[in-house]
Every structure is written in structure tokens, then in C-alpha cells.
Amino acid sequence: MILQFEKVRHQLGDNHFYYDFQMNSSITGIFGPSGAGKTTLFNLLSGLDTPQKGKIRLNFESLVDIEQNLIKQVKKRNIGYIFQENHLFPHLTVKRNLLFSKPYIKHKEKYVSFNELVHLLDIESILYKKPRQLSGGERQRVAIGRALLSQPRLLLLDEPFSNVDCSKRKQIISYLLRINNHFKVPMIIISHHLEDILKLTHKIVVIENGCSVVSGNILNIIKNDEKPELIRSKKFQNTFKVNFDSYNKIENSYTVTFNQDIVLRISNHSRLLNKFISKGTKIQLSLRPVDISLNLENNVGTSIQNQLKGTINQIIKNKEGVFCIIDCGFELLVEISQGIISKLYLHEGQEIYCQIKANDIDVVHVFDQSEIQESKIKQAKIPEPINN
């Protein structure tokens, strides 16, 4: 999906907005503080609001071109919008909410089927309940399902994690990856929780004071020092995809591989993993920079199970701290203390070992192999690797 906002200007009362960026990603994150203008961006993209100036294009098709007096109608844009408060229709059951768009999609190409979706989102048991009888997580899943059944070519999710607790957030992230992988529907996700966005994608647009200030891969943004505060160690998540290899009964841990030659061990604390997962299944993992330590040598006498050999690509010092970008086959952001650089004589290009406890690796999602094989999308949109 290629999304272009070209010098888009909009005014709401005394608030001025300006968006100018281009994104090309299967999942894009929109990050910024509350009130920065993230939802306004969605309203302009979906057609609920019209800007005063500029152009908006989706896959090179003009949705808005003020100079040419072109403003595409909401229903002709074919964009699914999941509002922050869900806005499930309270007088309808879950099933009737899901099927709300049915009369309006007669002439559309259908790539999401009702039964398939209900199964993927695990909402079979709540189909005949009313929205007020659902939990926050269930409501979010139904809202996602309702938008998807309108067969959109793009899905907008406004703060999908705002009304759910931490454990449900993880669940929703997993469902979103499942949906994205299965239906190949591109998504744009708004959140002011950077850690949640980064578990889904590293392609982000940062919105501040009503303006798009920077966009692209977060590691590139950090490398170029375009937005130093994005590096906050506790908010940052290294995310990477690996392949399931085996279950080690004695150590009660799982072995996964990256590019076949890099082996990682993950502890058995994630409910997403089990010993019945078939070898080769794709798994998305995340890891905080603060949970990685550096060692000059491969230390065999340690309880830390993962030691990845890598090269220091860049050392970044800013007011948020000291960070290294290490290339271990995939790039990892590592936080270190100020004194370590001089103590270990760290420099760019140096070979180093990244030590990671098996317990610190978080399993974000396990991609079902059938999901990968049974992709039924007719629009050829292949998600890009997260760390590109």
C-alpha cells in the first residue's frame, strides 16, 4: 500500500493541521501524543473531513485533490475505519453489526468471508450478544471484523489499544497480525503507545502539534537522529520474525531460528507457544533494548541462553541515553550505560556479543501456517519485512 499526503492543510476552529509524507508499508503506525492530530489525519483519509488544501493519494489513486476540485465520497474510498470508541451499534447483535455493510458491498470484490473472519477473530460464541454484553477486547475484535466485512482496501484503526488492559493489548496485536497476514489487508494504526506500534510495525509516521514531523522506518529515523526522543528505551521494541524449530523438554524452552543460522532460545512462558507448533512456523518476537547486554567475548559460563554475534553499526548518544545499533543478521537497538563505551572500548564496526535472557524475549504472534498458505486476497499486496 502506498499512501501519499501531499502538502495537506486543514483547519478545525483554531487548530491548524499540516501533513506531508509518503508511506509504503503493509502496516503503518501513526504515533504522537494525545491531541496531536492523529485522528484528524484518519478523518481526512477516510473522507469524513475534507482538507482546505493538498492532495491525498492511495495506491496512486487520487482521493482528494483540492486544486482539481476532486473529493472522493466516503463510500467510494473503500476504507474501513475502526473508531477509538468502537461505535458498535448498540441496538444490533454482534452478528448484525458484522453484517451491517452487506447491502452496500454487492458489487465489490469480496475477499473476507463471514465464517472465515468469525473463526479468525474467535467471536463465534458472542455472535448473538449485544455490544453492551461484551468485554473491551471482544468489542475491539467485533469492530475490526465489522470494518473488514465491508471489504476495505485499507483498514484504519484509531487507538485500538486504548480501552483494553495490558494482556488484552497483546491479544489484539496478535489478532491484527493474524488478520494482516491472512487477508493481506493493509492497516494504519494510531496509538500514543509506541511500544504497541513497534510490535506491529517499524514503519511509522510521527505527528506532533498537528503536523507530520517525520516518517519512515524507526531505526532509520533514529540513525539519522531525526527524532531522538523516539529512542526511549522502555518504549522501544526490537521486533523480528523467526522460524519455530523445536521444543526442549529438559530446559522447558523453545528453539527458534533466524535465516537458519541464528539460533535463539525462548522460555516457555508465552501462552502463544506450545510443543505442537510445526517446524518452520513463523513467529514474531519483540525485545526491549534495555534487556540486551553486550559482551566482548562469547561467554560460555553464564546462565544467559542467547548470545548473538554481531557488529556495532552505530553508537548513538543523546539526552535519552547511550544506544548501540548492532547488526546480528537483523538490526537490534541496545541500551548501554554511559561508562560502558570507555570501559569496553566500544566503537563502530567492532564485533560484539549480544546477551539475551530467554525470559526477556516476548512472543508477539505465532503465524499459523494455514494462514500463510490460504491467503485469499486477490489484490497483490505483500507485507514488507519489519526491519527493512
Partner: protein, 227 residues
């Protein structure tokens, strides 16, 4: 037991109230929605005009109806000349008087119901492909349904008790325009008719009480549905 004359008065009253409610309801739904959700020039004036019968003495409303819709009225004259239809002093006049006095009650109730509905439901509906008309019938009307029912019941109850506008615009013609209220008024002035008055008063109270209980029940459901 009720006499045949009393039964025919009750039937005429219920018939007039039902017909006027059925005519009032779609108008009140449309006006309630417009006033709650749309901003347009002259909104306050229209709202004021609708609400006049609420505050003006009913007899004044009846007199105005006579001036406008009577046989020699501003509009009534043309209707009479073009279609040979007389709108005053017949059953149609009873219905028209009921509509005019019950409309503000229905509109106020229905409008407050529409106001409670978060406009983002409309946005959600539009984003799913629904047109404005479709959104009105699939989202607004069902979500405002308790308020609509409550408004309809109130309009019905108001029609049952209508007196001032009816007597001045439709007259007090037995078997033709005489409703329960008018019959009670006539019989109160005739000595020995107290039992008839008592029976009709009791029936009026029962019908009104049931209507109000019904209306309150649906009024309480307003918030419950829009959550």
C-alpha cells in the same frame, strides 16, 4: 354498563387519536431529527412555531386553525374551491386539531432521543458504506425508538384529552365531532347526567394512565439503547 352513545363517543375519540398519532408520528420523527442533528437557517423560528400550541391557550390554537383552514380561511378557502373539501366542523377537523396540539409533545420527546445519539455512529455507518437515508433508517430511527414510541404515546394521550382547539375548530357535534372531553363538558351541564360523566371520566383516566406508564417505560429505555 356503557350506553351505545357513550361507546360511540369512546370509539370516535380513539379513532381520532389513532389517526392523528399515525399522521403526527412521521412528521415528528423528521422534525425531531432535523432539529436535533442539523443546523439550518430559521431553526429557532421553526422550533418556536411547532411549540406554540404547547404554551398558547388551546382555544387560541383552535381559533387560528379556523382562520387558516376554515371554509373562508386563508388556505381553507382554496382547498374548498379546488377540491370541494371542507376541513372545519367535521371528523377531519378533530384530527387536524389533535395533530396540531400533540405535535410539539411528540417532537420534543423524539428530538431529545436523537440528541442522545453520538454523531460518531453516523460516521461509523457512513464508513461502512451506508448513505444518509440508510443511516437514518438503520441507525437513528432504531436507536431513538424508545423516544419515538414514548413520543407517539404522549401524542396519543394528548389527542384523547384535547378540548379547546377541537371545540373551536371542529365544534361539538354529537356522533360527528364529539369526543370524550366534549361529551363530558356537555353532560356536566345537564342535571342527572352525572353517572355518564363519571363513567367517561373513569375511562379517560384509565386510558391516560396506561398511556403515561407506557410512555415512561420507553422514556427510561432511551439512555439504555444509546449506550
Amino acid at each position: 354498563m356503557l350506553s351505545s352513545e357513550e361507546i360511540s363517543v369512546i370509539i370516535l375519540t380513539l379513532k381520532a387519536a389513532l389517526v392523528s398519532t399515525f399522521i403526527t408520528l412521521p412528521i415528528a420523527i423528521w422534525l425531531g431529527w432535523m432539529l436535533a442533528k442539523k443546523n439550518f437557517l430559521g431553526k429557532l423560528i421553526i422550533e418556536g412555531l411547532i411549540n406554540i400550541p404547547l404554551v398558547a391557550p388551546p382555544i387560541v390554537t383552535g381559533y387560528l386553525l379556523l382562520i387558516v383552514l376554515g371554509k373562508n380561511g386563508i388556505i381553507g378557502r382554496f382547498i374548498h374551491e379546488l377540491f370541494e373539501i371542507n376541513l372545519a366542523f367535521n371528523f377531519t377537523a378533530v384530527v387536524i386539531a389533535s395533530i396540531i396540539v400533540s405535535l410539539p409533545l411528540a417532537v420534543r420527546n423524539i428530538k431529545s432521543s436523537f440528541e442522545l445519539i453520538d454523531p460518531n455512529y453516523e460516521r461509523a455507518s457512513n464508513s461502512l458504506g451506508a448513505s444518509r437515508i440508510s443511516t437514518f433508517f438503520r441507525i437513528y430511527v432504531p436507536m431513538a425508538l424508545p423516544g419515538i414510541i414514548s413520543g407517539a404515546v404522549l401524542a396519543f394521550a394528548r389527542s384523547l384529552g384535547e378540548f379547546g382547539a377541537t371545540i373551536s375548530f371542529a365544534g361539538n357535534i354529537a356522533g360527528k365531532t364529539q369526543t370524550i372531553a366534549l361529551n363530558v363538558y356537555s353532560n356536566m351541564q345537564i342535571p342527572g347526567k352525572e353517572p355518564v360523566v363519571t363513567r367517561l371520566v373513569i375511562i379517560s383516566i384509565i386510558i391516560s394512565l396506561v398511556a403515561i406508564i407506557f410512555s415512561e417505560y420507553f422514556n427510561k429505555k432511551k439512555n439504555y439503547l444509546v449506550r
